[in-house]
Symmetry: C2
Subunit: 293 residues, 2 copies
Amino acid sequence: MERIGFVGLGTMGAAMAANLRRAGYEVTAWNRTPGRAGDLVALGAGEATTPAGAARESDVVVVCVSDTPDVEAVLFGPDGVATGLARGGLVIDCSTIAPGATAGFATRLAEAGIGFVDAPVSGGSEGARDATLTIFAGGEPDAFERARPVLAAMGKTITHFGPAGSGQAVKAINQVVVTGAYLSVAEGMVLAIKAGLDPALVADALNAGAARSWVLENRSGRMIDNEYPLGFRTSLHLKDLAIGLELARSVGAAMPVAGLAAQLEAGLVGRGHGDEDMSSLARTIRSLSGLEG
Amino acid sequence: MERIGFVGLGTMGAAMAANLRRAGYEVTAWNRTPGRAGDLVALGAGEATTPAGAARESDVVVVCVSDTPDVEAVLFGPDGVATGLARGGLVIDCSTIAPGATAGFATRLAEAGIGFVDAPVSGGSEGARDATLTIFAGGEPDAFERARPVLAAMGKTITHFGPAGSGQAVKAINQVVVTGAYLSVAEGMVLAIKAGLDPALVADALNAGAARSWVLENRSGRMIDNEYPLGFRTSLHLKDLAIGLELARSVGAAMPVAGLAAQLEAGLVGRGHGDEDMSSLARTIRSLSGLEG
């Protein structure tokens, strides 16, 4: 069994690393902010003081940090993974970052004899905890096959889309596709409230037909109550959507609804709602319509 | 068992009337264009030469025509249902029309001692054929209870939302909620194509997570192929969306995505795509992005 280094113990990463340990992998973890490895150490994992230190104890390093510059720092910065991981090692990046930068990271690692798979995830903190994440993978086929059992310990639906960066592109597309559902469900719930209907009854009835969606099933209640517990942070979705819009710009694709959603989410973050679930998009539709929002 | 008059034998109405006949109801049908009742007569239904004639043979008249003026004409025009139906009769309007006009029709019928239920449907020609329609009902509670067994012979999920017009309001909300899914799935599929990914593989993977929707499951393939067999006509969705936007205006609700979709659908109708399935919204995103559309 490969020895695993795990870099980044946020809400997602800590749960994913725990599932690797439970699946029987040796895990050596590192986190930028100390004191996050307690639960993992209790499961028998080791703790390193640098990303390079975690990599030195490992064959495969899983990275799960916030954004493109963070991945670059933990891979190629001083005491980064690239200085600790031996030739023949593999990096699996589960962060959600830019597809173009990802391809560049893969090239730099290849020059050091290190394989690379991008494997951003979807499914939130519940999916991370229950190892039911959806994983979008990119990379060379042999690197992906090597990564597959590691990914299978953290997620359920695992798809390989093509070369390095492909997984990130699909994650960006995922974030584009959800936006319309959030906005339209918000519009529908606000219209139901304003028209004097029972919005929860409306949501239930609509879910029996062509309007059915994960968002209508799982997030319309928050929009009706105007309360937005996490879930998935609006500020993080805005970061991901910016990646999607940049990808769209680079390949020449027009995304009117995703562009509108990004503007509205920027407004929500500006109003202090960035740490709420992204169903807080309903705040905007509610406010525009004279409801508390 | 109540005797049923059925007014309007379009694709939806003809299938719904056949299901009433199969459920054992006596049915007398009328259609504006003659020659549409053949299949129904073969099932043992009668045919009338006017809406009033169908009503005279019936206790309950089901109406399934195209738009608000059509409903007004078959109910209150010369030889309309109101002149043929006895006091104590019931009209069930399965057309998709304006909620406000619907409330007015209910009042006029009540003055003639005739009950009224608005019961617009969702689920398309397959749902009409298989009696699996979702039905959104409005009307007085006793009128709805009387209509329920008739509706149950045509549909599966039947919900009563409130007074006359409520069913139409919920149908309008349904058409608002689907639009964002169509547009965002189109954006996602176009982005996948432009980014060099396999869009069908992307759609499958996304359906495992929060981007899951009826539209992604059932309509992304048409958007990828750029072929839009029916389904549900773009021109009809535009008519329904106009009802939704008028409802929104009347109650003071802002619908930015539904408003955008209506503009794009008007453009599609203008380009001659009104008789295609409404997944042809993808044509617009494709065209804007330099793909055939």
